[in-house]
Amino acid sequence: MKHTLKSIFSSFLFLFLLFANAQETKAPVKENLNEGSIPKNAPVAKKNTATTPKTDSIITPVKKDRYGVRVGVDLFKLSRSFYDKDYKGIELVGDYRWDKKHYIAAEVGNENKTTDDERLNFTTKGSYLKVGFDYNGYENWLDMENIISIGLRYGFSTFNQELNTFKIYNTNQYFGEIPPLTSGQKYNGLTASWIEVVAGMKAKVFNNIFVGFSLRFNRLINNKQPANFENLYIPGFNRTYNGDFGVGFNYTVTYFVPIFKKVVKAPETKKTEKK
Protein backbone atom coordinates (compact mmCIF):
# COMPACT_ATOMS: atom_id res chain seq x y z
CA MET A 1 0.00 0.00 0.00
CA LYS A 2 2.66 2.43 1.06
CA HIS A 3 4.80 1.49 -1.92
CA THR A 4 1.90 1.90 -4.26
CA LEU A 5 1.17 5.37 -2.97
CA LYS A 6 4.80 6.30 -3.25
CA SER A 7 4.94 5.28 -6.86
CA ILE A 8 1.69 7.09 -7.56
CA PHE A 9 3.07 10.31 -6.20
CA SER A 10 6.35 9.92 -8.00
CA SER A 11 4.63 9.31 -11.30
CA PHE A 12 2.48 12.37 -10.73
CA LEU A 13 5.63 14.29 -10.09
CA PHE A 14 7.01 12.89 -13.30
CA LEU A 15 3.96 14.10 -15.16
CA PHE A 16 4.26 17.55 -13.69
CA LEU A 17 7.86 17.60 -14.81
CA LEU A 18 6.58 16.98 -18.30
CA PHE A 19 4.43 20.05 -17.93
CA ALA A 20 7.35 22.07 -16.74
CA ASN A 21 9.45 20.91 -19.66
CA ALA A 22 6.76 21.76 -22.12
CA GLN A 23 6.54 25.27 -20.74
CA GLU A 24 10.24 25.88 -20.89
CA THR A 25 10.67 24.91 -24.49
CA LYS A 26 7.63 26.86 -25.57
CA ALA A 27 8.34 30.12 -23.86
CA PRO A 28 11.35 31.22 -25.94
CA VAL A 29 9.61 30.38 -29.21
CA LYS A 30 6.75 32.67 -28.36
CA GLU A 31 9.07 35.52 -27.51
CA ASN A 32 10.97 35.14 -30.76
CA LEU A 33 7.80 35.37 -32.75
CA ASN A 34 6.79 38.56 -30.99
CA GLU A 35 10.16 40.19 -31.14
CA GLY A 36 10.59 39.30 -34.76
CA SER A 37 7.21 40.30 -36.01
CA ILE A 38 6.06 43.38 -34.17
CA PRO A 39 8.64 45.91 -35.25
CA LYS A 40 8.73 44.64 -38.83
CA ASN A 41 5.03 44.24 -39.20
CA ALA A 42 3.67 47.56 -38.05
CA PRO A 43 5.48 49.89 -40.44
CA VAL A 44 6.03 47.49 -43.35
CA ALA A 45 2.51 46.21 -43.71
CA LYS A 46 0.88 49.62 -44.11
CA LYS A 47 3.30 50.95 -46.70
CA ASN A 48 3.65 47.95 -48.97
CA THR A 49 0.13 46.59 -49.09
CA ALA A 50 -0.32 47.28 -52.78
CA THR A 51 3.01 46.01 -54.11
CA THR A 52 3.93 43.09 -51.92
CA PRO A 53 1.07 42.09 -49.68
CA LYS A 54 2.96 39.34 -47.94
CA THR A 55 6.57 39.93 -47.25
CA ASP A 56 6.88 38.47 -43.85
CA SER A 57 6.82 34.72 -44.06
CA ILE A 58 6.13 34.27 -40.37
CA ILE A 59 2.67 35.80 -40.33
CA THR A 60 1.42 34.42 -43.66
CA PRO A 61 -0.16 31.12 -42.49
CA VAL A 62 -3.39 31.93 -40.74
CA LYS A 63 -3.41 29.70 -37.71
CA LYS A 64 -6.70 27.98 -37.25
CA ASP A 65 -7.74 25.76 -34.36
CA ARG A 66 -9.99 22.91 -35.20
CA TYR A 67 -12.97 22.31 -32.97
CA GLY A 68 -14.89 19.11 -32.73
CA VAL A 69 -15.61 15.91 -30.95
CA ARG A 70 -13.07 13.23 -30.23
CA VAL A 71 -14.33 9.70 -29.59
CA GLY A 72 -12.44 6.56 -28.86
CA VAL A 73 -11.83 3.56 -26.71
CA ASP A 74 -9.54 2.50 -23.89
CA LEU A 75 -7.18 -0.04 -25.37
CA PHE A 76 -6.04 -1.34 -22.01
CA LYS A 77 -9.47 -2.51 -20.91
CA LEU A 78 -10.19 -3.84 -24.36
CA SER A 79 -7.01 -5.87 -24.62
CA ARG A 80 -7.23 -7.06 -21.03
CA SER A 81 -10.60 -8.58 -21.86
CA PHE A 82 -8.75 -10.93 -24.20
CA TYR A 83 -5.81 -12.02 -22.11
CA ASP A 84 -7.35 -11.96 -18.62
CA LYS A 85 -10.07 -14.57 -18.23
CA ASP A 86 -11.25 -12.88 -15.02
CA TYR A 87 -11.87 -9.56 -16.71
CA LYS A 88 -14.34 -8.22 -19.25
CA GLY A 89 -14.49 -4.51 -19.71
CA ILE A 90 -14.81 -1.68 -22.13
CA GLU A 91 -14.46 2.06 -21.79
CA LEU A 92 -15.51 4.59 -24.39
CA VAL A 93 -13.95 8.01 -24.12
CA GLY A 94 -14.92 11.29 -25.66
CA ASP A 95 -14.23 14.96 -25.44
CA TYR A 96 -15.46 18.17 -26.97
CA ARG A 97 -13.30 21.22 -27.40
CA TRP A 98 -14.95 24.03 -25.48
CA ASP A 99 -12.40 26.75 -26.08
CA LYS A 100 -8.73 27.04 -26.90
CA LYS A 101 -7.57 25.24 -23.80
CA HIS A 102 -10.61 23.53 -22.30
CA TYR A 103 -12.21 20.30 -23.25
CA ILE A 104 -15.38 18.79 -21.87
CA ALA A 105 -14.50 15.16 -21.35
CA ALA A 106 -16.36 12.02 -20.46
CA GLU A 107 -15.78 8.32 -20.11
CA VAL A 108 -18.42 5.63 -20.00
CA GLY A 109 -17.69 2.02 -19.32
CA ASN A 110 -18.76 -1.38 -18.17
CA GLU A 111 -16.72 -3.90 -16.23
CA ASN A 112 -17.06 -7.49 -15.10
CA LYS A 113 -14.13 -8.40 -12.95
CA THR A 114 -13.43 -11.35 -10.72
CA THR A 115 -10.92 -10.50 -8.04
CA ASP A 116 -9.01 -13.41 -6.59
CA ASP A 117 -7.47 -12.21 -3.36
CA GLU A 118 -5.63 -14.23 -0.78
CA ARG A 119 -8.72 -14.67 1.36
CA LEU A 120 -11.59 -13.59 -0.86
CA ASN A 121 -12.80 -14.27 -4.35
CA PHE A 122 -15.55 -12.04 -5.65
CA THR A 123 -17.04 -10.81 -8.90
CA THR A 124 -17.94 -7.18 -9.51
CA LYS A 125 -20.23 -6.20 -12.38
CA GLY A 126 -21.36 -2.73 -13.25
CA SER A 127 -21.28 0.41 -15.31
CA TYR A 128 -19.88 3.83 -14.76
CA LEU A 129 -19.90 7.33 -16.14
CA LYS A 130 -17.31 10.03 -15.64
CA VAL A 131 -17.87 13.63 -16.68
CA GLY A 132 -15.57 16.60 -16.36
CA PHE A 133 -13.07 18.73 -18.17
CA ASP A 134 -9.46 18.75 -19.30
CA TYR A 135 -7.23 21.78 -19.39
CA ASN A 136 -4.60 21.63 -22.10
CA GLY A 137 -1.39 23.14 -20.82
CA TYR A 138 0.54 22.47 -23.99
CA GLU A 139 1.19 25.28 -26.49
CA ASN A 140 1.25 23.72 -29.93
CA TRP A 141 3.46 24.76 -32.82
CA LEU A 142 1.76 25.63 -36.07
CA ASP A 143 -1.07 23.21 -36.69
CA MET A 144 -0.05 20.58 -34.21
CA GLU A 145 -2.86 19.41 -31.97
CA ASN A 146 -1.16 17.62 -29.13
CA ILE A 147 -2.47 17.77 -25.62
CA ILE A 148 -0.86 17.58 -22.24
CA SER A 149 -3.66 18.10 -19.86
CA ILE A 150 -4.79 18.11 -16.31
CA GLY A 151 -8.44 17.72 -15.52
CA LEU A 152 -11.19 16.75 -13.14
CA ARG A 153 -13.95 14.21 -13.36
CA TYR A 154 -17.01 13.33 -11.37
CA GLY A 155 -17.47 9.60 -11.51
CA PHE A 156 -20.55 7.56 -10.74
CA SER A 157 -20.91 3.82 -10.76
CA THR A 158 -23.78 1.45 -10.26
CA PHE A 159 -22.84 -2.17 -9.72
CA ASN A 160 -23.35 -5.42 -7.88
CA GLN A 161 -21.01 -7.86 -6.25
CA GLU A 162 -21.04 -11.58 -5.76
CA LEU A 163 -18.92 -13.24 -3.13
CA ASN A 164 -17.70 -16.50 -4.63
CA THR A 165 -15.48 -17.97 -1.95
CA PHE A 166 -13.99 -16.76 1.31
CA LYS A 167 -11.65 -17.94 4.01
CA ILE A 168 -12.18 -17.73 7.73
CA TYR A 169 -9.32 -16.03 9.50
CA ASN A 170 -8.48 -18.07 12.55
CA THR A 171 -5.29 -17.42 14.46
CA ASN A 172 -5.73 -20.77 16.17
CA GLN A 173 -4.73 -23.55 13.84
CA TYR A 174 -5.57 -26.49 16.13
CA PHE A 175 -8.12 -27.83 13.67
CA GLY A 176 -5.98 -26.78 10.73
CA GLU A 177 -6.74 -24.34 7.95
CA ILE A 178 -10.12 -25.12 6.50
CA PRO A 179 -10.57 -24.82 2.74
CA PRO A 180 -12.25 -21.70 1.34
CA LEU A 181 -15.99 -21.68 1.87
CA THR A 182 -18.34 -21.20 -1.05
CA SER A 183 -20.73 -18.33 -0.60
CA GLY A 184 -22.59 -17.25 -3.74
CA GLN A 185 -23.98 -14.34 -1.75
CA LYS A 186 -25.02 -11.47 -4.02
CA TYR A 187 -24.96 -7.84 -3.07
CA ASN A 188 -27.12 -5.83 -5.46
CA GLY A 189 -27.93 -2.16 -5.92
CA LEU A 190 -24.56 -0.79 -4.89
CA THR A 191 -23.48 2.68 -5.93
CA ALA A 192 -20.45 4.88 -5.53
CA SER A 193 -19.36 8.30 -6.66
CA TRP A 194 -15.99 9.93 -6.64
CA ILE A 195 -13.79 12.75 -7.85
CA GLU A 196 -10.87 12.07 -10.16
CA VAL A 197 -7.84 14.18 -10.87
CA VAL A 198 -6.66 13.32 -14.36
CA ALA A 199 -3.24 13.95 -15.79
CA GLY A 200 -2.98 12.93 -19.38
CA MET A 201 -1.57 13.45 -22.81
CA LYS A 202 -2.75 12.86 -26.34
CA ALA A 203 -0.67 12.92 -29.47
CA LYS A 204 -1.90 13.08 -33.03
CA VAL A 205 -0.36 10.13 -34.81
CA PHE A 206 -1.84 10.80 -38.25
CA ASN A 207 -4.76 12.72 -39.69
CA ASN A 208 -7.45 12.64 -37.04
CA ILE A 209 -6.20 9.70 -35.04
CA PHE A 210 -4.89 10.36 -31.56
CA VAL A 211 -3.30 8.08 -29.01
CA GLY A 212 -3.12 9.06 -25.43
CA PHE A 213 -2.87 7.92 -21.89
CA SER A 214 -4.00 9.31 -18.61
CA LEU A 215 -3.26 8.68 -15.00
CA ARG A 216 -6.02 9.14 -12.49
CA PHE A 217 -6.06 9.72 -8.78
CA ASN A 218 -9.47 9.06 -7.27
CA ARG A 219 -11.19 9.89 -4.04
CA LEU A 220 -14.53 8.45 -3.06
CA ILE A 221 -17.21 10.87 -1.98
CA ASN A 222 -20.04 8.41 -1.67
CA ASN A 223 -19.97 4.66 -1.30
CA LYS A 224 -23.01 2.52 -0.60
CA GLN A 225 -21.52 -0.53 1.10
CA PRO A 226 -23.23 -3.90 1.36
CA ALA A 227 -24.03 -5.47 4.73
CA ASN A 228 -21.37 -7.91 5.90
CA PHE A 229 -19.09 -7.22 2.93
CA GLU A 230 -17.24 -4.31 1.40
CA ASN A 231 -16.90 -2.62 -1.97
CA LEU A 232 -13.37 -3.79 -2.63
CA TYR A 233 -13.63 -3.03 -6.32
CA ILE A 234 -15.77 -0.41 -7.98
CA PRO A 235 -16.16 -0.31 -11.76
CA GLY A 236 -14.42 2.81 -13.05
CA PHE A 237 -12.84 3.54 -9.70
CA ASN A 238 -10.88 0.30 -9.50
CA ARG A 239 -9.56 -1.27 -6.33
CA THR A 240 -10.41 0.60 -3.16
CA TYR A 241 -7.79 1.29 -0.57
CA ASN A 242 -8.25 2.25 3.04
CA GLY A 243 -8.99 5.95 3.23
CA ASP A 244 -11.17 6.10 0.10
CA PHE A 245 -8.33 6.57 -2.37
CA GLY A 246 -7.83 4.86 -5.65
CA VAL A 247 -5.83 5.03 -8.82
CA GLY A 248 -6.51 4.34 -12.44
CA PHE A 249 -5.22 4.88 -15.89
CA ASN A 250 -6.24 4.38 -19.46
CA TYR A 251 -4.54 4.10 -22.79
CA THR A 252 -6.76 5.43 -25.50
CA VAL A 253 -6.98 5.63 -29.22
CA THR A 254 -9.40 8.29 -30.42
CA TYR A 255 -10.76 9.70 -33.64
CA PHE A 256 -11.26 13.42 -33.97
CA VAL A 257 -14.36 14.57 -35.81
CA PRO A 258 -13.77 18.20 -36.84
CA ILE A 259 -16.87 20.36 -36.72
CA PHE A 260 -15.64 23.91 -37.28
CA LYS A 261 -12.49 26.00 -37.26
CA LYS A 262 -11.63 29.09 -35.34
CA VAL A 263 -8.91 31.50 -36.37
CA VAL A 264 -6.34 31.84 -33.69
CA LYS A 265 -5.94 35.48 -32.75
CA ALA A 266 -2.21 35.86 -32.67
CA PRO A 267 -0.91 38.30 -30.11
CA GLU A 268 0.69 40.55 -32.80
CA THR A 269 -2.55 41.16 -34.69
CA LYS A 270 -4.30 42.10 -31.48
CA LYS A 271 -1.77 44.81 -30.83
CA THR A 272 -2.07 46.36 -34.28
CA GLU A 273 -5.83 46.37 -34.13
CA LYS A 274 -5.79 48.29 -30.88
CA LYS A 275 -3.50 50.92 -32.28
Partner: protein, 166 residues
Amino acid sequence: MISCLSFSGCEKDDICDANTVTTPRLVITFYDYNNASVEKNVTNLSIFADGMEEAVTFSGSTLINGSTVSIPLKVNAETTKFHFILNYGSTNVIVPANEDIITFNYTTENIYVSRACGFKTNYTLKSDNPFVHTDAATPDLKWMQYVAVKNSLIANENETHLEIYF
Protein backbone atom coordinates in the same frame (compact mmCIF):
# COMPACT_ATOMS: atom_id res chain seq x y z
CA MET B 1 4.08 4.56 -18.91
CA ILE B 2 5.87 1.52 -17.54
CA SER B 3 5.44 2.88 -14.04
CA CYS B 4 1.70 3.09 -14.65
CA LEU B 5 1.52 -0.49 -15.77
CA SER B 6 3.43 -1.67 -12.75
CA PHE B 7 0.63 -0.55 -10.39
CA SER B 8 -1.44 -3.52 -11.33
CA GLY B 9 1.30 -5.69 -9.88
CA CYS B 10 1.17 -4.41 -6.33
CA GLU B 11 -2.31 -5.37 -5.24
CA LYS B 12 -1.83 -8.13 -2.72
CA ASP B 13 0.40 -6.31 -0.29
CA ASP B 14 -2.10 -6.11 2.54
CA ILE B 15 -1.64 -8.44 5.48
CA CYS B 16 -4.07 -9.06 8.28
CA ASP B 17 -3.09 -7.01 11.30
CA ALA B 18 -2.43 -9.16 14.37
CA ASN B 19 -4.50 -6.79 16.53
CA THR B 20 -7.60 -7.36 14.47
CA VAL B 21 -10.34 -9.23 16.31
CA THR B 22 -10.85 -12.36 14.25
CA THR B 23 -12.29 -15.78 15.05
CA PRO B 24 -12.44 -16.01 18.85
CA ARG B 25 -11.79 -19.00 21.08
CA LEU B 26 -14.07 -20.15 23.87
CA VAL B 27 -12.80 -18.73 27.16
CA ILE B 28 -13.21 -20.97 30.21
CA THR B 29 -12.59 -19.84 33.78
CA PHE B 30 -12.19 -22.34 36.62
CA TYR B 31 -13.66 -21.66 40.08
CA ASP B 32 -13.45 -23.31 43.46
CA TYR B 33 -16.63 -25.34 43.95
CA ASN B 34 -16.50 -24.79 47.70
CA ASN B 35 -15.90 -21.08 47.40
CA ALA B 36 -17.69 -20.06 44.22
CA SER B 37 -16.33 -16.53 44.03
CA VAL B 38 -12.69 -17.62 44.00
CA GLU B 39 -10.86 -18.71 40.89
CA LYS B 40 -9.01 -21.98 41.25
CA ASN B 41 -6.02 -23.24 39.29
CA VAL B 42 -6.24 -26.56 37.52
CA THR B 43 -3.26 -28.89 37.60
CA ASN B 44 -1.85 -30.35 34.41
CA LEU B 45 -5.10 -30.11 32.52
CA SER B 46 -4.95 -31.33 28.95
CA ILE B 47 -7.78 -30.73 26.53
CA PHE B 48 -8.16 -32.94 23.47
CA ALA B 49 -10.74 -32.38 20.79
CA ASP B 50 -12.43 -35.63 19.88
CA GLY B 51 -10.24 -37.58 17.47
CA MET B 52 -7.21 -35.33 17.86
CA GLU B 53 -3.80 -36.70 18.77
CA GLU B 54 -2.52 -33.45 20.21
CA ALA B 55 -3.93 -31.39 23.02
CA VAL B 56 -4.96 -27.76 22.66
CA THR B 57 -2.05 -25.43 23.14
CA PHE B 58 -2.71 -22.51 25.46
CA SER B 59 -0.02 -19.97 26.35
CA GLY B 60 2.56 -22.15 24.64
CA SER B 61 1.77 -25.32 26.57
CA THR B 62 -0.56 -28.28 26.29
CA LEU B 63 -0.56 -28.65 30.09
CA ILE B 64 -2.70 -25.98 31.66
CA ASN B 65 -2.01 -24.92 35.21
CA GLY B 66 -3.88 -21.64 35.48
CA SER B 67 -7.45 -20.71 36.26
CA THR B 68 -8.37 -19.85 32.70
CA VAL B 69 -8.02 -21.45 29.29
CA SER B 70 -9.15 -20.64 25.75
CA ILE B 71 -10.05 -23.39 23.32
CA PRO B 72 -10.96 -23.22 19.64
CA LEU B 73 -14.29 -24.41 18.30
CA LYS B 74 -14.68 -25.90 14.85
CA VAL B 75 -15.79 -23.18 12.44
CA ASN B 76 -17.21 -25.63 9.92
CA ALA B 77 -19.36 -27.61 12.37
CA GLU B 78 -22.05 -26.94 14.97
CA THR B 79 -20.69 -29.21 17.65
CA THR B 80 -17.20 -29.70 19.05
CA LYS B 81 -16.42 -32.41 21.56
CA PHE B 82 -13.57 -32.01 24.03
CA HIS B 83 -11.92 -34.39 26.50
CA PHE B 84 -10.81 -32.48 29.60
CA ILE B 85 -8.17 -34.59 31.34
CA LEU B 86 -7.07 -33.33 34.73
CA ASN B 87 -3.67 -34.42 36.08
CA TYR B 88 -2.81 -35.57 32.61
CA GLY B 89 -0.11 -38.28 32.55
CA SER B 90 -0.17 -38.61 36.32
CA THR B 91 1.22 -41.85 37.75
CA ASN B 92 0.42 -40.79 41.27
CA VAL B 93 -2.41 -42.95 42.63
CA ILE B 94 -3.49 -40.24 45.06
CA VAL B 95 -4.12 -37.70 42.27
CA PRO B 96 -4.88 -39.85 39.24
CA ALA B 97 -5.76 -38.54 35.83
CA ASN B 98 -9.47 -37.86 35.46
CA GLU B 99 -11.33 -37.32 32.21
CA ASP B 100 -14.57 -35.42 31.64
CA ILE B 101 -16.18 -34.82 28.29
CA ILE B 102 -17.98 -31.65 27.21
CA THR B 103 -19.69 -31.35 23.86
CA PHE B 104 -20.50 -27.80 22.81
CA ASN B 105 -23.56 -27.08 20.66
CA TYR B 106 -23.55 -23.76 18.86
CA THR B 107 -24.46 -21.84 15.77
CA THR B 108 -21.90 -19.99 13.70
CA GLU B 109 -22.00 -16.65 11.99
CA ASN B 110 -19.43 -15.63 9.41
CA ILE B 111 -18.67 -11.93 9.63
CA TYR B 112 -16.70 -9.89 7.12
CA VAL B 113 -13.54 -8.35 8.56
CA SER B 114 -11.45 -6.90 5.76
CA ARG B 115 -9.77 -7.64 2.45
CA ALA B 116 -6.63 -8.85 4.18
CA CYS B 117 -8.31 -10.88 6.92
CA GLY B 118 -11.30 -12.17 5.02
CA PHE B 119 -14.06 -13.35 7.34
CA LYS B 120 -14.22 -14.41 10.97
CA THR B 121 -16.60 -16.76 12.70
CA ASN B 122 -18.55 -15.84 15.80
CA TYR B 123 -20.35 -18.54 17.76
CA THR B 124 -23.53 -18.57 19.79
CA LEU B 125 -24.01 -21.43 22.23
CA LYS B 126 -27.45 -22.90 21.71
CA SER B 127 -29.84 -21.74 24.41
CA ASP B 128 -31.68 -25.07 24.83
CA ASN B 129 -28.60 -27.27 25.22
CA PRO B 130 -25.40 -25.20 25.06
CA PHE B 131 -23.27 -28.16 26.15
CA VAL B 132 -23.43 -31.77 27.27
CA HIS B 133 -21.23 -32.74 30.19
CA THR B 134 -20.50 -36.46 30.60
CA ASP B 135 -17.97 -38.66 32.30
CA ALA B 136 -15.25 -40.45 30.37
CA ALA B 137 -16.00 -43.63 28.40
CA THR B 138 -14.40 -45.58 31.22
CA PRO B 139 -16.13 -43.94 34.20
CA ASP B 140 -13.80 -42.32 36.70
CA LEU B 141 -16.32 -39.96 38.29
CA LYS B 142 -16.69 -36.39 37.06
CA TRP B 143 -14.08 -33.99 38.34
CA MET B 144 -16.18 -30.98 37.29
CA GLN B 145 -18.87 -30.38 39.89
CA TYR B 146 -20.77 -27.67 38.08
CA VAL B 147 -20.59 -26.15 34.61
CA ALA B 148 -22.38 -22.95 33.61
CA VAL B 149 -22.60 -20.68 30.59
CA LYS B 150 -21.55 -17.13 31.39
CA ASN B 151 -21.83 -15.61 27.92
CA SER B 152 -23.50 -17.54 25.16
CA LEU B 153 -22.22 -15.21 22.43
CA ILE B 154 -18.60 -15.92 21.63
CA ALA B 155 -17.41 -12.84 19.73
CA ASN B 156 -14.15 -12.00 21.49
CA GLU B 157 -11.70 -13.41 23.99
CA ASN B 158 -11.94 -10.60 26.52
CA GLU B 159 -14.65 -12.23 28.59
CA THR B 160 -15.42 -15.61 30.09
CA HIS B 161 -17.92 -17.71 28.17
CA LEU B 162 -17.99 -20.81 30.33
CA GLU B 163 -17.48 -21.32 34.06
CA ILE B 164 -16.33 -24.63 35.49
CA TYR B 165 -16.49 -25.26 39.24
CA PHE B 166 -14.48 -28.09 40.74
